[in-house]
């Protein structure tokens, strides 16, 4: 029988205006945690129900005995998370869901992340790097301040390109050009994205044109996180048939070519 886990907060730090980083002691979790999987985190104190529901977060870094999350303060759940201090305990449910996959023989991968989606890709970068795969990344955000949070990513990347609204470099056309150049130049085997519908559609097109593999980590609204509530569904096409599947169970990571972006 699985159970939720009370994990000890090791650190919880503000990185930029709205981004925070939290590390937790995960030594009590036996299950292997893979990049792209998520935890449904109860930000409320036990029994306070404020906020009521858990909130899903994918892991930012997966270490031997600790887990790291990068999160953006949006509303009550993330605001509550930001109030925890080292030594506090937080209840997590997970790891849940299907992780990113790296095909046998992959040499070079390209990440396309936007906003907090970058957090989700970071764990993948870490894993790929550790397997000797070269990682390239195009990171998009509103402002440079938002990208500060992703600094850690560069430890695992051969090259990181930043695009922002602030600098007017984040338009789809520009990103397409950058992506295509990177794919061509480095002979990318697979590409992964998270954090933007617009960029997901772009990547879906690119991987078709360029005939490389691609995956997307979706961020649908989740209530239960265990596959019973049907909040988190998305449409996928398989054998020319559209299926509505639960992204907490069959995702959150999907082959990007099968996802129907609404």
């Amino acid at each position: 029988m699985k159970a939720t886990s009370n994990l000890k907060v090791l650190s919880n730090k503000q990185l930029s205006r709205r981004y925070w980083h939290m590390a937790m002691d995960s030594s009590s979790i036996d299950e292997k945690i893979e990049p792209g999987q998520f935890f449904n985190i109860q930000s409320a104190d036990n029994g306070s129900y404020t906020p009521l529901l858990r909130r899903p977060f994918s892991t930012f870094r997966i270490n031997e005995n600790s887990l790291e999350f990068l999160y953006k303060v949006e509303g009550p759940g993330t605001a509550k998370l930001s109030e925890y201090t080292p030594g506090d305990y937080i209840n997590l449910l997970g790891p849940q869901g299907v992780p990113f996959s790296i095909k046998e023989g992959t040499d070079k991968i390209l990440l396309l992340g936007r906003g907090v989606g970058i957090a989700t890709l970071a764990a993948l970068a870490q894993k790929a790097f550790n397997q000797g795969i070269q990682v390239y990344a195009v990171l998009s955000a509103r402002s440079h301040d938002d990208l500060l949070a992703a600094e850690a990513l560069k430890d695992y990347c051969t090259e990181v390109v930043h695009v922002t609204e602030e600098e007017q470099t984040s338009g789809v056309d520009n990103v397409r050009e950058i992506m295509n150049n990177l794919i061509t130049f480095y002979q990318i085997d697979a590409a992964y994205t998270c954090g933007s519908r617009r960029l997901s559609v772009l990547l879906q097109n690119i991987i078709k044109e360029r005939n490389i593999d691609g995956e997307v980590a979706l961020e649908e609204y989740m209530a239960c996180g265990v596959g019973v509530c049907y909040s988190c569904v998305c449409d996928v096409v398989r054998n020319n048939t559209v299926y509505s599947v639960k992204s907490c169970e069959e995702g959150p990571v999907f082959p990007i070519d099968e996802v129907v972006f609404a």
Partner: protein, 307 residues
């Protein structure tokens, strides 16, 4: 003081369950068995089934409000055939009765589906979700009208001797009248109740927070309304009541039992903690030991006597 011998079993209209805690339809299913031993709970109640496969409503399908959540899942369903061929058999591995929740779009469809479901020997009882929209009446829920409630239940009663649970909608002026209509129709038990019709707006996008504009409010916010309705139904009907709405812990379950419920269903709380039903069963047992009650029946509706 010796420990009281506590018996948690109750009868909910011809079906005996080992304890009064069961899941609410739509908030339970495969996926939770990793966190909860299904053999511990009184019954299993899978998500409402529709006749044909259907997709449910558009995203986003849920949002949180203060002390509650609004869901506009709709009934995402693989249809009754798959239900009978996959869902029902799946639950046979557990040693607890299976209650099948049925959603239909017309009285006739309720009949047809009940016939098919009741025909399965592995289904212990039917739950009629009369809170779902009646396409023959402008999409107003069946359970909003006395006569239609009577008709649905009465027609299904002709079809099966299995226990019929009728799940009322709380969105009515007078729940007593609807409860009595269901009783006259032949219900064995009343589930009080489904979700409160609700809406939330994101003030920045100025759009509804759920794709379907409105949805059903569940969670602790609604408990006081449901406790009141249980009490009201108990005042007029002798049918066993299954309380449902906002139960987060054993105390909430006990509150509903004191108000008049014989058993309870747990929805949203399982999203917060997928093994919460186990804690609730233990909590009820502890309460009964503390106050030396031997059976749940000593508690059912007790508040009425205390006034």
């Amino acid at each position: 003081m010796t420990k009281t011998d506590v018996n948690l079993a109750v009868d909910i209209g011809g079906l005996t369950i080992s304890n009064p805690i069961m899941p609410a339809s739509g908030a339970f299913g495969k996926g939770m068995e990793e966190f909860l031993d299904f053999n511990l709970i009184g019954a299993v109640v899978p998500k409402s089934i529709t006749k044909y496969p259907q997709k449910g409503n558009k995203n986003p399908r849920a949002c949180e409000t203060f002390g509650g959540m609004i869901n506009s899942i709709g009934i995402q369903s693989d249809g009754i055939d798959k239900y009978l061929n996959h869902t029902v058999p799946y639950y046979q591995q557990y040693d607890v009765p299976l209650i099948s929740s049925i959603s239909a779009e017309s009285v006739e469809e309720f009949e047809e589906m009940s016939e098919m479901i009741a025909g399965s020997p592995d289904v212990a009882a039917l739950e009629l979700n009369i809170s779902c929209p009646n396409l023959e009446n402008n999409g107003e829920a069946f359970g909003m009208d006395e006569d239609i409630t009577y008709e649905v239940v009465h027609k299904v009663r002709q079809i099966t001797d299995k226990p019929i649970l009728v799940k009322l909608t709380p969105n009515v002026t007078n729940i007593q009248k609807i409860a009595l209509a269901a009783e006259r129709g032949g219900a064995d038990s009343l589930v009080v109740a489904n979700t409160l019709l609700a809406m939330a707006i994101d003030i920045h996008s100025q759009q509804p927070k759920v794709g379907n504009v409105m949805g059903g409010l569940s969670g602790p916010a609604i408990k006081p309304v449901i406790v009141r309705q249980i009490f009201q139904v108990r005042e007029v009907s002798n049918l066993p009541i299954i309380g449902c709405g906002g139960i987060m812990n054993a105390d909430d379950a006990i509150e509903m039992i004191l108000a008049g419920a014989t058993a309870v269903q747990v929805g949203t709380a399982s999203f917060v903690n997928p093994s919460v039903m186990k804690d609730m069963i233990e909590g009820i047992r502890a309460y009964m030991e503390q106050y030396q009650y031997q059976t749940i029946y000593e508690l059912v509706g007790k508040t009425m006597d205390r006034i």
